[in-house]
């Protein structure tokens, strides 16, 4: 099964998706009162459903899951459900997701594929330091590694000293955890007097559940592991295993035989072309217990449908650029604080603190990025500072696709709070 998945061509993938789209729409129409009502209201002709009709199907949102708490969106008889996971509900009800036996099996298979794409084999020792429990990260990677026949250490999160000891004593070669925990483990190793290059045998990191940057990859690959890979998923879509970075690390391959991906304008819902930045909406093609149609992930990315240099035809999404919740629209272009952070982190002598000021000059929006210098900022040569400011502006323009003016501020002058309100000042009155 998995060899087939890797070698599928574009045409084969599109044909399979066309067939499965009709199947899943039919399945939810027949089995889920929620979707039957939705599809009827939208006037979808199920009997003559064509793949392009998916664009007429209303989006499913996290609010729909909450409103139908706990299991209003399942499309099978409750007796077929074998597992329920729940996400933390900081506002109102948590979101509950439900799996059949077949779903768990497919989920294991997808995670096995992800590990294989990262170069993991049955000879590897895989330490799973994602949380086990209601969070899907731990169990998802666990199933994948076990299915691959690797040796699994179900370390779960926390107890950093013990994690490091297990890594050292059991010869861990693959670490699956969040990128921030990987960084923390790397720093803690140093404090414990462990030299990762001599004392550990870490080859591969399978890092996900939060957005991370190329600068984090650089640090991890220089200091802790040979190859750090980004893995994407969310509990609504099984959990981890939706998309994975191959050895080329130029985007994450989405397993398109299981997931149909669209990138949409988060404001209008209009479907965007590959290469355009927008919110990812996903239709699950194989899920049985709780299939979702055009589920709005609130994650912002760009779709790349070219065949990858690694040979796989499964389309790629760029590393997640941000969440729709943090998005700013300037001159019609979506801008994310995370993109600005990434640019700033590439320069020496600057702190990670910044402030975005957006205002309007006549009909045009203007973006000002205030960047704070650190105390070890090179402060003698004006030409060097002017040059740094110019390079910052150029790089911001490349990354954001709009021009931004940079203003350098003295150390400790920008607000420290993580709050969005203080980082972004929108003076536009629309």
């Amino acid at each position: 099964m998995s060899i087939q998945a890797y070698s599928m061509g574009k045409k084969e993938i599109r044909e399979a998706q066309a067939k499965k789209l009709k199947e899943v729409v039919t399945r939810v129409y027949e089995n889920s009162p929620f979707y039957r009502r939705r599809l009827k209201e939208a006037g979808i002709d199920i009997a003559n459903f064509r793949p392009e009709d998916i664009r007429k199907v209303p989006f499913t949102t996290k609010t729909d899951l909450r409103d139908n708490y706990p299991l209003g969106l399942i499309s099978v008889d409750k007796s077929k459900i074998v597992r329920m996971h729940a996400s933390s509900g900081t506002t109102g009800n948590p979101t509950v997701v439900a799996y059949t036996k077949r779903d768990i099996d497919a989920w294991a298979e997808l995670n096995k594929r992800c590990l294989e794409v990262c170069g993991v084999t049955s000879d590897d020792v895989v330490q799973v330091a994602y949380g086990y429990g209601l969070f899907t990260g731990g169990l998802g990677l666990h199933y994948g590694a076990e299915r691959l026949g690797a040796k699994v250490i179900p370390a779960s999160t926390g107890n950093t000293k013990r994690q490091l000891k297990l890594m050292k004593d059991l010869g861990t070669t693959v670490l699956a955890c969040t990128p921030s925990y990987a960084l923390f483990l790397s720093e803690s190793a140093k404090e414990e007097g462990i030299d990762p290059k001599k004392d550990l045998r870490l080859r591969v990191g399978v890092l996900g559940a939060e957005p991370w940057s190329e600068s984090t990859r650089k640090v991890l690959e220089e200091e802790f592991m040979q190859s750090a890979h980004d893995i994407y998923g969310m509990s609504e879509l099984n959990g981890p295993g939706v998309a994975i970075e191959c050895r080329k690390k130029d985007g994450l391959h989405v397993w398109e035989d299981h997931y149909f991906v669209e990138i949409i304008d988060p404001n209008t819902g209009e479907v965007l072309e590959p290469g355009e930045k927008g919110e990812m909406a996903v239709t699950t093609l194989e899920k049985e217990g709780m299939p979702l149609l055009r589920y709005r992930t609130r994650d912002i990315t760009i779709l790349d449908d070219e065949v990858c240099e690694c040979g796989m035809a499964h389309a790629r999404i760029k590393k997640i650029l941000g969440r729709t919740d943090d998005m700013l629209k300037i001159r019609g272009i979506c801008v994310f604080p995370s993109q600005i952070e990434e640019v700033i982190s590439g320069f020496e002598g600057l702190t990670p603190f910044y402030q975005l000021v957006v205002d309007r000059d006549g009909p045009l929006d203007r973006l000002l990025v205030k960047v704070e210098v650190s105390e070890d900022f090179k402060s003698d040569r004006l030409t060097e500072i002017v040059d740094l400011q110019k390079r910052l502006e150029e790089e911001l323009r490349d990354v954001l696709s709009i021009s931004a003016a940079v203003e350098l501020t003295e150390p400790r002058t920008l607000p420290r709070s993580e709050g969005k309100a203080q980082r972004i000042i929108d003076l536009r009155r629309i």
Binding site: V373, S374, E375, D376, F377, K378, S379, D380, R381, L382, I385, V386, Q389, E407, L408, T409, E410, P411, R412, T413
Partner: protein, 125 residues
Amino acid sequence: MAKQFSIFLENKPGRLSSVIDLFERNQIRVLAMGIAEAGNYGIVRCILDAPEKAAEALRNANTAVNLVEVLIIGMGDLHSAVKVLGERGINIDYAYTMDMGRIVIKVDDEPKAKKALSEAGIKTY
């Protein structure tokens, strides 16, 4: 060899005052000062009479400050000094005047400049 303080400051009213206030409070005297500006920020370069105390005070105030080696010569030696530096291929990055008829010069090769001036019999402070 003299130490110059190069301080990064935002170019707005009150910023220079806050630095000079800091020197006053710590009884540090300013012997020479030059300001270079570009847009919303600038660099204040100064020679101070108590470098160690000043470095500590500036650090405690979380200032972006660099210490830079500079040459101080008498104004009367200016002509011969720039001639010698020019002949030896040493570039002057910037210069500004100082109290007591002296001038502060920042060059691109400090040790070479120091040697050249001493060989030419020009006194540095």
